[in-house]
């Protein structure tokens, strides 16, 4: 009795200690993560001259002025940029997740001669850095007249090996073939089965990859910078770069930080809204060994 009581007390103390340690770690990491956002915010409240003086911990009073300046800057159209980025990023996110799921399903659910070869091929090309084929890609786009077009930014996302790999792992754990067979018995066509039965089951994985890929595309500078130069086609990172290379009389880092902050806000909002489903989603769609 006594020993048991002692044990449970000891366990309780141990638990409290480990909880304190865990919370301390979590709070430390959160502060580290939030600090960069706080700095962005503070910098967005400061004037260009003040920013030249280096770091400040407390916000200044230029927030509204920077916001007005950035919004009214004649060379960039912020709403247009946000819309452009949203079009490119959302199309990219949707295409890459949908077609990766389709491909993963094709390899997962069907037996065909080249199945193993196809899988090995994707796994092999997954390790090739994008930058490696960037030159050839750019030359090709110029030749085809695809500059100032969203085609070369959106369509290639149909083939996203990393997303495919994730979808494949995911299906292996959560997708029983019985469901497919049942659907076949019901006379559902293969394509319809995928769209109406399989996709909803993959929803959590789709949500995760959609937000991951949305963010990647939203922040992409390299290719859009080479391909787009019409003002009304430019995406957010290009506009930020344009602000940063403004001429000396108009150069204003306060405006730049304000725009960076504005560019993050929509993603943060979308993320917070979706995060519940993402975290639940990943949880539900766990990958089993």
């Amino acid at each position: 009795m006594n020993a048991n009581y002692y044990d449970s007390r000891k366990a309780k103390i141990q638990l409290t200690i480990s909880r304190v340690v865990v919370y301390a770690i979590l709070i430390f990491l959160s502060v580290l993560c939030l600090f960069s956002f706080y700095m962005l915010f503070v910098n967005a409240t400061r004037s260009n001259a003040d920013l030249q003086g280096g770091f400040r911990l407390l916000p200044s009073n230029y927030f509204l002025k920077n916001l007005v300046n950035a919004w009214n800057d004649a060379s960039i159209n912020i709403p247009r940029g946000l819309l452009n980025s949203f079009i490119v990023a959302s199309c990219t996110a949707v295409l890459s997740t949908y077609f990766s799921a389709l491909t993963a399903y094709g390899i997962h659910a069907y037996d065909f001669k080249l199945k193993k070869a196809a899988f090995t091929f994707v796994m092999a090309v997954m390790v090739i850095p994008n930058q490696v084929s960037a030159v050839g890609f750019y030359q090709m786009c110029v030749k085809l007249g695809w500059t100032n077009s969203y085609i070369p930014l959106i369509v290639p996302s149909i083939a996203a090996p990393v997303v495919f790999f994730y979808m494949k792992q995911y299906m292996e754990s959560v997708l029983p073939m019985e469901i497919v067979d049942a659907a076949r018995v019901d006379g559902s066509g293969e394509f319809r089965t995928f769209n109406t039965i399989i996709l909803p089951m993959l929803k959590p994985a789709l949500a995760v990859q959609m937000i991951f890929n949305f963010v990647l595309s939203w922040n992409n500078y390299f290719m859009p910078a080479l391909l787009l130069d019409k003002a009304e086609m430019k995406t957010v990172p290009l506009m930020i770069a344009q602000l940063r290379s403004a001429d000396y009389s108009k150069f204003d880092m306060g405006k730049v930080y304000m725009f960076i902050l504005l560019a993050i806000l929509p993603v943060v909002v979308v993320y917070i809204i979706l995060s519940k489903s993402i975290i639940k989603g990943v949880t539900a769609g766990s990958v089993k060994g």
Binding site: V22, S36, Y105, Q131, E190, V282, S286, V287
Partner: protein, 313 residues
């Protein structure tokens, strides 16, 4: 999920359904062939030519055989082979960021999924730790640059506290530049990895944990005997993707060191090196050769990691 019971049925049907397999993977492969494979082949083809711009004048393409490769592997006056040095830098920078990233992410994933700890405010923490991923890497680097500059707050504090007398020039010391790059990559990616690993742990059959506890296993034993082996596939996924991401490292060191890889090019990564040839001279010959080398290095490393991680199966 066991698919054994209906595999007989599936096999019988698979004959008639095979065309659907091809049909479903067709868009992916078609797109890949046009947008990636063709440019990739072009890149490899380029690597055998002298092909660059001098001002507005085009030089080449002239076939030079393996000359570009020979040039890449010719040691400089000090006996250093540049591309190997940059490959070494890249691996060091990757490991420095990826090891803490995966270890911490694994720890956090265990914390979040532990019923015993029953962490409150999980939603908040999970959101916050993913948030750095939303900032453009270049903007993130700009912030760090201000933080650690000679007149930045870190130096101000160190001087104020009497730790140092004069400002530490963080960007001219090899170890500090590298540490900063690792720290930034860690912050950018550990939340992402945590989310993925958590998924893996929560997918493990809870009965296994209970059984282990009944057998008297401690939490450390449970982790190594139950959690880790079952988590292996998703761990392999995160390690491989972290490896691929790490070997493609570019934005963070590029912006932080203004493209120079200071000091003494010790933070120059392979992709930064490639980028140097792509800009200005449009030296597609050398860039092509570097690309091929990067491909081989990445491929070998991934294969090694994949093999060593999946050997136990």
């Amino acid at each position: 999920m066991k698919r054994l019971p209906d595999s007989r049925k599936a096999k019988r049907k698979s004959i008639s359904y095979a065309k659907w397999g091809y049909l479903f993977i067709a868009p992916f492969f078609l797109t890949y062939a046009i947008f990636n494979l063709y440019p990739l082949i072009l890149t490899i083809y380029n690597s055998f030519f002298e092909n660059y711009r001098s001002g507005l004048k085009q030089v080449g393409p002239n076939f030079v055989g393996l000359a570009n490769y020979v040039k890449l592997f010719t040691p400089d006056a000090n006996g250093t082979i540049d591309i190997l040095k940059y490959a070494g830098n890249t691996v060091v920078l990757w490991l420095g960021g990826a090891i803490p990233q995966i270890v911490i992410a694994l720890l956090l994933a265990i914390f979040f999924t532990s019923h015993r700890l029953n962490i409150r405010g999980q939603q908040f923490f999970k959101t916050v730790i993913y948030m750095p991923n939303l900032i453009m890497a270049s903007a993130f680097s700009m912030l760090f640059f201000t933080l650690f500059s000679n007149v930045g707050p870190v130096n101000q504090l160190l001087i104020q506290w009497g730790v140092v007398d004069t400002a530490i020039d963080f960007f001219s010391i090899k170890i500090t530049v590298r540490s900063l790059i690792c720290l930034m990559n860690f912050l950018l990616w550990f939340g992402n990895t945590t989310i993925l690993l958590m998924a893996g742990i929560m997918g493990i059959d809870q009965n296994l944990f209970e059984a282990a506890e009944i057998d008297g296993a401690g939490s450390i034993q449970v982790f190594f005997k139950v959690t880790l082996p079952l988590l292996m596939p998703i761990l392999v996924y995160t390690i491989i993707t972290a490896l691929i991401g790490g070997l493609q490292m570019f934005d963070v060191p590029q912006v932080l060191t203004n493209g120079a890889g200071t000091p003494n090019r010790s933070s120059m990564t392979l992709i930064m090196y490639l980028n140097n040839y792509l800009r200005t001279s449009k030296n597609y010959g050398m860039a092509g050769a570097i690309s091929v080398i990067i491909f081989i290095i990445t491929g070998l490393l991934s294969l090694m990691v994949y093999r060593s991680l999946t050997k136990k199966d």
